[in-house]
């Protein structure tokens, strides 16, 4: 039984169809990647799951339908969506951003423990809790977005292009942490990424989207060996 199951999901922005009949599965505990060019529908797929775009079809999470639920209700079921552009609360402090991640939780002790654990992943953060989030670097903002999502104690993490606009070394450390989060916290991850090499290394399973449809799917290894994927997305 997959944790997340999309069946024949179609989404449109006004008259423009952005997704045609997408079906995909995310197994509990896995990292699944979605690849594809700009405009292929990767972001829309994540938005369909988190309820920020209207969809037709069936989306099931933990064996219960979540199709058509408002974003706040989807979040309350345990899906944390780190949106395109990170969605930092720019005028608030680092600590307030983290507190907002935990804003629905009442277990003070648990929140405190999670904060400490998160400072373990991102040691720089503990010294800068009072900084305004807008003043962080792009990489730090991406880490803050990840950390805030973790404060929600999600079962499923939706990540939209965590590497976007970041220096390669920063990207590497962020992907290391994503892998650790999956391993150590047991959080299932659905990852959208333009950087196919990175994504395929991180993911157990991957889907390739082309103009709103799933073109290829398979394990990371299989896709690396797939010739058309290699030519189009890996560039060799």
């Amino acid at each position: 039984m997959p944790l997340l199951e999309l069946e024949n999901v179609t989404a449109s922005y006004g008259a423009v169809k952005a997704l045609h009949d997408i079906s995909l599965n995310v197994a509990e505990g896995s990292v699944v990647a979605m690849l594809g060019a700009n405009g292929a529908g990767k972001t829309t797929t994540l938005r369909a799951i988190s309820g920020t775009v209207k969809v037709v079809g069936s989306i099931r999470f933990d064996d219960r339908p979540i199709t058509g639920l408002a974003p706040e209700e989807v979040a309350r079921r345990g899906i944390a969506h780190v949106p395109e552009g990170r969605g930092i609360l720019a005028q608030m402090t680092v600590l307030e951003n983290l507190q907002m991640g935990a804003c629905l939780r009442r277990d003070r002790a648990g929140i405190k423990a999670d904060l400490d654990r998160i400072f373990g992943y991102f040691p720089w953060m503990s010294g800068r809790t009072g900084s305004t989030a807008a003043l962080l670097s792009g990489g730090e903002q991406q880490m803050l977005a990840l950390a805030r999502a973790l404060m929600m104690k999600p079962r499923l993490l939706l990540l939209d292009e965590p590497s976007l606009g970041l220096a390669p070394t920063v990207v590497r450390s962020i992907f290391d942490i994503i892998a650790r989060i999956n391993r150590e916290e047991g959080v299932t991850i659905l990852l959208v990424e333009q950087n196919a090499k990175l994504a395929l290394r991180a993911a157990k399973h991957a889907y390739v989207l082309e103009v709103g449809e799933i073109a290829v799917s398979g394990s990371g290894q299989e896709l690396v060996r797939n010739e058309s994927v290699r030519k189009s997305y890996l560039g060799y």
Binding site: S50, T52, A70, P71, E72, A75, R76, A80, H81, P83, G87, I88, L89, A90, Q91, M92, E96, Q99, M100, G101, C103, L104, T132, A134, L135, L136, S137, G138, Q141, R148, M152
Partner: protein
């Protein structure tokens, strides 16, 4: 000798006017804060803020005079009722037009203004009524300066209200959620915040703060359905002066408007009659020369 006496008298007069100005300024500040709370959440001005305040003051009046409840019970009960009223107004009347253009929202609040004013006319009539005050009318003498208990009470109550609102927004979980919802509604929803309810709570809080200012005004003026209208104008002035999206600005702006009005009214002959015009003048000057107000939000963003 005569000049010395005159100087002393005018100095005492100045102090008295300053205290009076700060007291009325606190009043403008709390109503301005109510306006800012709603402006931050939906970028519209609530033209009915003053009428809602008067409406709840009438409720307090009924509780005091018909049910003969003690003042110190009526005060918190009225604030609580005002919060409920604010939440209801948002859920029932504002919610359906939440996503409408700003002009629609403004028109709806002007409609609300008419509804509340008319309701008060139907229920309580347009006769002016004296509103009881818990404070004595004798002045306190401090070093030769006479200060009224009313002014001191005004300053004390508005200070408490402003501090409570500040603590609520900076120290509580719900306050944090409300701030985030106002600034970043989409992201807040992704974090599980029911933004619609935060908006309703914002209306409730604004109505509660408004109720306090209504109950503070009523003993100074007289209670009638139009009581808050001129005060709303000064609250607008204060909010624009401080920056419509800045709670701190609302408070500073309110105090500034209060003090300036008191001084202008005393020291410029004939200016007392032009107080309302002065309010508009300040609004126009600020909008022309400093459209964001003095404490308006400065966007800090890194791309």
């Amino acid at each position: 000798m005569a000049t010395e006496l005159f100087l002393a008298a005018s100095f005492q007069g100045l102090i008295q006017q300053l205290v009076f100005g700060i007291a009325t300024g606190g009043l403008f500040a709390s109503l301005a804060l109510a306006l800012v709370l709603i402006y931050r959440a939906m970028e519209t001005l609530n033209f009915a803020q003053g009428e809602m305040a008067t409406f709840t003051t009438f409720i307090a009046f009924t509780l005091l005079t018909s049910l003969h409840l003690p003042y110190w019970l009526v005060f918190p009960v009225t604030v609580a009722l005002a919060i409920v009223l604010g939440v209801l107004v948002e859920r029932v009347i504002i919610r359906p037009v939440e996503r409408a253009p700003v002009l629609t929202l403004v028109l709806v609040t002007i409609g609300l203004f008419g509804i509340f004013n008319g309701l008060m006319g139907i229920i309580w009539g347009y006769v002016v009524r004296p509103f009881p005050s818990p404070l004595p009318t004798t002045p306190i003498l401090l070093g030769g300066v006479g200060i009224s208990y009313q002014d001191v009470g005004l300053i004390a109550v508005s200070t408490v209200v402003l501090v409570l609102v500040w603590l609520f927004f900076t120290r509580t979980r719900v306050g944090l959620m409300m701030r985030a919802s106002a600034l970043y509604p989409e992201v807040s929803r992704l974090l599980g915040v029911r933004v619609g309810w935060m908006l309703a709570l914002g209306w409730g809080l604004a109505a509660g703060v408004g109720a306090v200012s209504g109950m503070l005004v009523a003993p100074i003026e007289v209670l009638d359905p139009n009581m808050m209208q001129s005060i709303l104008l000064y609250a607008f002035t204060a909010a624009v002066l401080g920056g419509l999206d800045s709670p701190v600005g609302a408070v500073v702006g309110g105090l500034a408007v209060g003090v300036i009005l008191a001084l202008v009214g005393t020291y410029i002959p004939g200016a007392g009659e032009l107080r309302v015009a002065f309010g508009f003048l300040v609004i126009i000057l600020v909008l022309v020369f400093k459209p964001g107000g003095f404490f308006g939000r400065v966007q800090v963003e890194r791309v």
